[in-house]
Assembly symmetry: D2
Homo-oligomer: 320 residues x 4
Amino acid sequence: MPEHHFLEPDGFVYTFGGQEPVLTIADGDSVTACTRDARGFDEENRPLPPELLPPSPGFHFLTSNPCVGPICVEGAEVHDALAVRIDAIVLNRDNAWSSQGAGMGSMTGEVPGRRLLLNEPLPDRMFNWHLDRERMTGTLELPNSTLGRAEIPLHPFIGSIGVAPRYGRVETTLAPGEFGGNMDCVETRVGTTLYLPVWVRGAQLCFGDIHAAQGDGELCRSALETTAEVTLTVKVLKGWEIHWPRLHDHDWLMTAGSSRPLYEAMQIAQVELLNWLTTDYGFDRDEAWQLNSQTGRMRIGNVVDPFYTVVAKFPKYLLP
Amino acid sequence: MPEHHFLEPDGFVYTFGGQEPVLTIADGDSVTACTRDARGFDEENRPLPPELLPPSPGFHFLTSNPCVGPICVEGAEVHDALAVRIDAIVLNRDNAWSSQGAGMGSMTGEVPGRRLLLNEPLPDRMFNWHLDRERMTGTLELPNSTLGRAEIPLHPFIGSIGVAPRYGRVETTLAPGEFGGNMDCVETRVGTTLYLPVWVRGAQLCFGDIHAAQGDGELCRSALETTAEVTLTVKVLKGWEIHWPRLHDHDWLMTAGSSRPLYEAMQIAQVELLNWLTTDYGFDRDEAWQLNSQTGRMRIGNVVDPFYTVVAKFPKYLLP
Amino acid sequence: MPEHHFLEPDGFVYTFGGQEPVLTIADGDSVTACTRDARGFDEENRPLPPELLPPSPGFHFLTSNPCVGPICVEGAEVHDALAVRIDAIVLNRDNAWSSQGAGMGSMTGEVPGRRLLLNEPLPDRMFNWHLDRERMTGTLELPNSTLGRAEIPLHPFIGSIGVAPRYGRVETTLAPGEFGGNMDCVETRVGTTLYLPVWVRGAQLCFGDIHAAQGDGELCRSALETTAEVTLTVKVLKGWEIHWPRLHDHDWLMTAGSSRPLYEAMQIAQVELLNWLTTDYGFDRDEAWQLNSQTGRMRIGNVVDPFYTVVAKFPKYLLP
Amino acid sequence: MPEHHFLEPDGFVYTFGGQEPVLTIADGDSVTACTRDARGFDEENRPLPPELLPPSPGFHFLTSNPCVGPICVEGAEVHDALAVRIDAIVLNRDNAWSSQGAGMGSMTGEVPGRRLLLNEPLPDRMFNWHLDRERMTGTLELPNSTLGRAEIPLHPFIGSIGVAPRYGRVETTLAPGEFGGNMDCVETRVGTTLYLPVWVRGAQLCFGDIHAAQGDGELCRSALETTAEVTLTVKVLKGWEIHWPRLHDHDWLMTAGSSRPLYEAMQIAQVELLNWLTTDYGFDRDEAWQLNSQTGRMRIGNVVDPFYTVVAKFPKYLLP
């Protein structure tokens, strides 16, 4: 009989892997937890108390994207996959922030900790969005633009969700990879099931970094960063060996590839998608590639992280 | 009083720029013409007669994507833009082909004329799609797959459409660029208006390479390649200086950037989109970037041409 | 009996291919000609007269790197190679210039005609070098640096040298490619023989853009740009089909790959080098790759052109 | 009075950072230690005993490049730099191996754990080199090539040498980065001093992976992999804050940038080099860039690791 757990974290993690589990659940159980935003603020906009920050900050990477977890899933072993159904993402705050700045973002030509250019860096700017949770809209004042004020629809999703990686640990929950992580993929929303490879006993699931809305690529480096109460149902798929995150929703089979350069993220996602179609759905590889070439879609998760994420999508109406 | 021209080409072009116009039209006129498919076959699957092939083929680039034109537009001068409204794309053949093969395609790691790898090249394969123009579907036999036969919806669009480039000429209508060209962008469909920069008197518009359907990226190197009767209405926008193709349809403002690597195509499109928003719609640059980061979408035109194309999209509901 | 031609150009070309030859020579003949610098100035620092500029400048690409030629080589046919021995590069001016500026250069993150960034562009700066042709040194005043004045050794080489391309023409002598072109490769110096693929009858050799010195990558976008009297001896190698430029000097076999991104330029050069070793020197491919992996060198020609150039080098002491 | 330590490791590390030091030395001390080869074999070609392997291998990354260390350097604090003078690299074995194979190497288009292509992978091959330590040459039998047998000069250097990273730990000693690591840079040889940023107290220096010889780029994925007795002298440079590894030898100031894509590794190295020239040698930035553009050299460390390494070199004769 599946159980529903309410996890009240008394701490957060900043790595994928290498942490003691804070909760152990059975195969098929559900978990509800409240997440912090990408800078650690909670649903009342209170920052993390100093004692919950990682020991030696210094570099902003270290304190970004605090995640809930890890959750140990009983029965999950190497060569299994974890199926994570996203049941609910309930926004629990009336505001979100976003920012632009030096050294990060698709049009600054730079990445954190790495100066690539001689040009003057861009100025830092912070944007404060108001969230109307009734109407599911976000509004932003635009004092310097003719429009004056923008209102956009919200579509909440989980920015960071992943398991312990293939070996060791990933040192920042800003990174996406084979283990999932900070994919910033708009598809990790309610109604989607995310499949993650299991590389360590118990899988060690973590999540956080809720985005109330985001465009393709998260161009300026941050989305509508906010908090939510998230509910997930977790199953173990024994012996289903996958190499990169997969997803499905009502309409699509999807795979997420993360790497640099951007082209390589795309290639990873496409190879994994063809693997899926040929192994599980009886497709000849070349015929699957032909169909995917004519009907597939791609979404660019983000182009600002240490690695970029591309989601490849194959329409389910073409499955046998 | 705008005129409607019926252009029956007695030849085709394989370059953007550097050709004598085959038709001169007035600002505001419309043109209807039948296009050849990407290998030069017509609506009855007849190949181009040898005398219409370019003088010294040899390399397949030279005979790919024969285009209709150039059409000289009276009044179009340097620093103007050309507005090309796509009025109709009427498929006029019951079949389309697609192919995969060595040295081209997103997952072969190669580009035409350039060996990059030591691996054995992929085998060539040709796929023949049947088009049902009533139901607007394409079907493909899949003899080696469980599915057996696939049916997909059609969404015809123009694969190649462009003007004479900034200087000289572009030697293959397989190339996209500032001048438009082989963008393989699913957005150049009925209902869309395409804006192209004018660099030579008369603009010298060419088009062809109809795709009955295509997934994002044209991954295997070709779409559902077919023929159509295309109708365009062309206007000159005096003094509207743009640097890359722009588009708009019912919902989106769009820009198309083409380059290599893929990331750079994205950057070009995004910079041009911000230029548009700030210059024509009264946006502050950082505020426009913020809005676009939260609401923008991207489509990847193709990742197999000499240059790749990314289309950046900004929602029109956010315009003042 | 080989002949020595003195070519006094009364015009210059700005494209590879698509031009009428200004001189026809026999297989084995030599040619001496004086080149202009990258902006068209001659050995007395006189600019090109307006009537020798290309018809519609506008864009600076169009007037960069004027080249001498084309020279038609009798007997050169498709599938042959042209061997160009560099006999002399005699500097004939006491100055050279170099510049940095917006939108071009390894650390501006931009390329000509393509804005990729939101950052402010770099300021334009021009540097004037004095050349001491006795001592073969260049000196530069450094008013803002402790050093005050720098003196460096000269090592003159040909920046741009190429033939008509595989099809059509290349619209700017700033571009490198399969045809050679603006490789900015320090190895095209006296004592080196350059091999170029022949794609059109007569090969149509052009050259210019002498660099008195240059670091790897031509990082700031220009070298010590100057003029010289250049002497070349040209032979036709019948039936020696090559796909990219090759070079040899006293110590090395070399191949030059040009493309974007940089990695791909490297791959092209390495594949062509292995082709050479296996086809002409009896190497097993994997054994050649092993040897090259342990002994090969690479030089980065430039990282600022429309395409980048990497030269792969294999030591001649390992040839059988 | 500096001390000379002889370190006989009873274990090896496979990460940079996150390990307890096996030795603590004073500022100015020297250390001598024998390294294992990239697969853990010692100077008598004995493999690592199972109990010295990392707990859960599985993925080959985990057992590659076992390193000696970490060595805690007294007095090294955040914002300092560590100066590591390479005093001796004494080869202590008569053989070296190298290999090529699927999924890694410059011309396979793939990286470990990431399939990017549909092509068949390359076959695995192992090459066994004989080392003549008297004559300092390596020889390889080439049964399938005309040459039959190759002899090349040796130039031993340290493939992997680094400190604890900015935060957390780097999970594989195959990775290069800001902390140094697996740069595969031929310049880390006797006579060179390597400067590494210090991010944790004691710096935590590790090293291993001796290469008896290597071409630029380590193209096939491995060099002449062997063992040596290495002697280093280590000094703390208080308050000299650097962001990436720097090196100097008799002729050059050098910086090493590691990233993907390759272009970005180059940019990182060049920015760090200009920082060095402007901060420590009184150069104006643009003047330094100009000089470096005309006299600088670059070496490509490797193009097969998780990140690539480019070394930028500025000639010391131009220092004031």
